[in-house]
């Protein structure tokens, strides 16, 4: 679009130059004014075409033709400038080929087959040879009102009378023009009725231009003069007729295929993350939200992977599900007034199916990334909180005991025979040792390193104030997995004691299909959730950090089960 706008600005500027220069020279006339206005309108039309998705290429071809046409007045603007003369000759020679390119590449902006390419190639070659002759041999003949009145930069210094060559070229162009018309007629005839209607405006414009072009050559061949400059007017009219015809044709294509067709075209080139935009545009609801269903996570996310709840969508919003209700592909959250167009909504959903599948895969990756970042910062925060807790425990526990012991020892220095004081000193020391032991076990229990997970979990169960039955063998696992599971069980049992209001829990550890499967369950009051700030979220993160998953089942009054599965090799 930016390139099209730049070329369009260039064309308008060239036309402005034409008008200003020719008025200066006193050669401007009504035809010139018409030509300039037509040019500006055509640029506008081309830019309007460029705004449609997938049409920019065609618009650029049209603008290219307008640009070459605008260059075609340079010799009149500066009849005594050798550079203007050189550029004009080249542009003039290329004009028929560019015109052919524009018509034959409609509506995609690309030439379709070998016939098209051969014709445009032939027109280019013929045009260059045709204007190559004056480029190399034109010498001004002293005519004071002709344009140009100088030779080109490529002038060889010699000349000859090449009037007869003009007739040869004219004949060649008539042949090419006929081939061109034949190609178009063939295309029209081969097109299905629906497509033919979209080609007709262009056909009319081309008929107009070709008739004009062939008439010019016939006049050249016969050496006649057309009355009233009629052919010049027709030539200038071309600048307006053709872009307008293309616009009408495109409008017809658009009308016939409707918004859904646009959607399909747009989705073909949509970048990841743009599916929502394409749907919003097609359905005419800029506030539309796209929620992609991730079956693995059992939740909806946006294209960027952030979570979204389609049901919590606000007033006058409603949700249309795409795909089977049991296993939806996505949900569109949209203005409820769109419900009047249910067919369009559903058709848009079907049209977007493949793009949505892709978007879902992308979103899944993004969601994993979002989740990874979140859990990483949660793990950091948890480690931080853990260090603070250790500091506090040391400070409030063992350190206080040792300070008291120090005081007692001081007093004993004076009263060495005081048995009560001695007894207190001993008690403080014992208490300090016990607290240090507990703390060390909380950091990393020795039994875990020495005897493995089963034994460590059994010792946890023995120390718990409730009855815990443990089903575990003596298998050893990677130390990171053993630690993660040990703390999972420790925290889970602590939660049972604190919240579950029950006297019993069951822990089972089992190696199954290359995974360590852990279950901690109680028959208490349930209702536990992994809220982001809760201790359970910390457990989820800890298990995720060793590549595992943790699910929590906890209905009200139905007990709580923590179920973890961690890949552990064979």
């Amino acid at each position: 679009m930016r390139l099209a706008a730049a070329v369009g600005a260039g064309v308008v500027a060239l036309w402005a130059v034409d008008v200003v220069r020719q008025n200066e020279l006193g050669v401007g006339d009504a035809g010139l004014a018409f030509y300039a206005v037509a040019g500006v309108v055509s640029v506008g039309v081309a830019l309007a075409i460029a705004r449609h998705p997938g049409r920019e290429r065609l618009a650029l071809v049209i603008l290219g033709w307008l640009f070459v046409s605008a260059l075609d007045d340079l010799a009149v603007d500066w009849p005594t400038s050798r550079s203007a003369t050189t550029v004009w000759m080249l542009a003039h020679g290329l004009q028929p080929a560019v015109y052919g390119l524009m018509v034959l590449s409609y509506p995609s902006g690309r030439l379709r087959d070998r016939g098209d390419r051969a014709l445009v190639g032939a027109a280019t070659a013929l045009g260059l040879v045709w204007m190559g002759v004056p480029l190399l041999f034109f010498r001004p003949n002293g005519c004071a009102v002709c344009a140009p009145r100088v030779s080109s930069f490529l002038y060889t210094g010699t000349t000859f009378d090449y009037g007869f060559l003009g007739k040869v070229f004219a004949a060649c162009f008539i042949v090419i023009g006929a081939a061109f018309v034949w190609l178009l007629v063939r295309r029209l005839a081969a097109a299905p009725a629906g497509a033919r209607v979209t080609l007709l405006p262009l056909g009319f414009a081309v008929l107009f231009a070709t008739a004009e072009f062939v008439a010019q050559r016939i006049v050249t061949l016969g050496g006649w003069q057309a009355p009233f400059g009629v052919l010049d007017w027709l030539d200038r009219g071309n600048a307006l007729v053709l872009p307008l015809a293309i616009l009408v044709g495109l409008a017809e294509i658009r009308r016939r295929r409707g918004p859904l067709g646009d959607l399909v075209v747009e989705l073909r080139t949509a970048q990841p993350g743009e599916v929502r935009l394409a749907l919003a545009r097609t359905l005419g609801d800029p506030t539309l939200e796209l929620a992609l269903w991730l079956p693995d996570r059992n939740s909806f996310v946006r294209e960027d992977g952030t979570p979204i709840d389609p049901q919590a969508s606000g007033e006058r919003r409603t949700v249309t599900t795409i795909g089977p209700a049991a296993e939806p592909l996505a949900a569109i959250v949209h203005d409820e007034r769109l419900l009047g167009q249910r067919t369009l909504l559903e058709a848009a959903g079907s049209a977007a199916h493949l793009a949505l599948e892709n978007a879902r895969l992308q979103a899944e990756l993004r969601a994993q990334l979002v989740e990874l970042n979140a859990s990483r910062s949660r793990i950091l925060a948890a480690a931080d909180a853990e260090r603070r807790r250790l500091e506090r425990d040391l400070h409030d526990g063992a350190q206080q005991r040792l300070l008291a012991l120090g005081l007692a020892l001081q007093l004993l220095r004076e009263r060495a025979d005081d048995p009560a004081l001695l007894e207190q000193a001993h008690a403080e020391l014992q208490q300090a040792l016990r607290e240090l032991r507990d703390l060390a076990r909380g950091i990393h229990p020795t039994i875990l390193t020495e005897q493995g997970l089963g034994a460590a979990v059994r010792s946890l169960a023995d120390r718990a104030p409730i009855a815990v039955s443990v089903h575990a063998d003596e298998d050893r696992y990677a130390s990171s997995i053993e630690a993660a599971v040990y703390f999972l069980v420790a925290e889970a049992l602590a939660n049972v004691v604190k919240h579950a209001q029950t006297g019993a829990a069951i822990v089972s550890l089992e190696r199954r299909d290359g995974r360590l499967v852990v279950d901690v369950s109680d028959d208490g009051r349930g209702g536990a959730t992994a809220a982001a700030d809760g201790g359970l979220q910390g457990l989820v993160d800890r298990i995720a950090a060793v590549g595992g998953t943790l699910t929590i089942t906890s209905g009200h009054g139905a007990g709580t089960t923590l179920h973890a599965e961690i890949p552990c090799g064979s």
């Binding site: 206080q400 008291a404 120090g406 005081l407 007093l411 004076e414 004081l421 207190q424």
Partner: protein, 118 residues
């Protein structure tokens, strides 16, 4: 005789500290375990010296110290802590009129140096 109030939330520390105060030749007039009772006891008993823990369960010992030194006829306040001076930083500003004594330096000798004779 100089009368001392001991404020600390660890009972075993209070018990041993009062024995040490007595050994240093002072009288223990009372003990408190938190900021609120510390202020009540200070107002009721009007001690000459308050041994005051910096960290108390309900409020900061520093705030209690500030209130004590600004009361009419204020007691001498000795802030005590299980942390050492360097934990608070060299430039730490203790409330005006208060001295600081890490708990591990609490000896009969140090106590006698710190307590001003009335």
């Amino acid at each position: 005789m100089t009368r001392i109030l001991i404020v600390d939330d660890h009972p075993s520390f209070r018990r041993l500290a009062s024995q040490l105060v007595v050994a240093a030749g002072y009288a223990v007039v009372g003990e408190a375990a938190d900021a609120a009772s510390a202020l009540d006891e200070a107002a009721r008993l009007r001690p000459d010296v308050v041994l005051l823990d910096v960290v108390l369960p309900d409020r900061s010992g520093l705030a209690v110290a500030g209130e004590l030194v600004s009361s009419p006829d204020p007691p001498q306040v000795v802030l005590i802590s299980s942390r050492s001076r360097s934990d608070f930083g060299e430039s730490y500003e203790w409330p005006e009129g208060c001295s600081f004594l890490p708990k591990h330096e609490l000896t009969v000798t140090r106590l006698k140096e710190l307590v001003r004779q009335p």
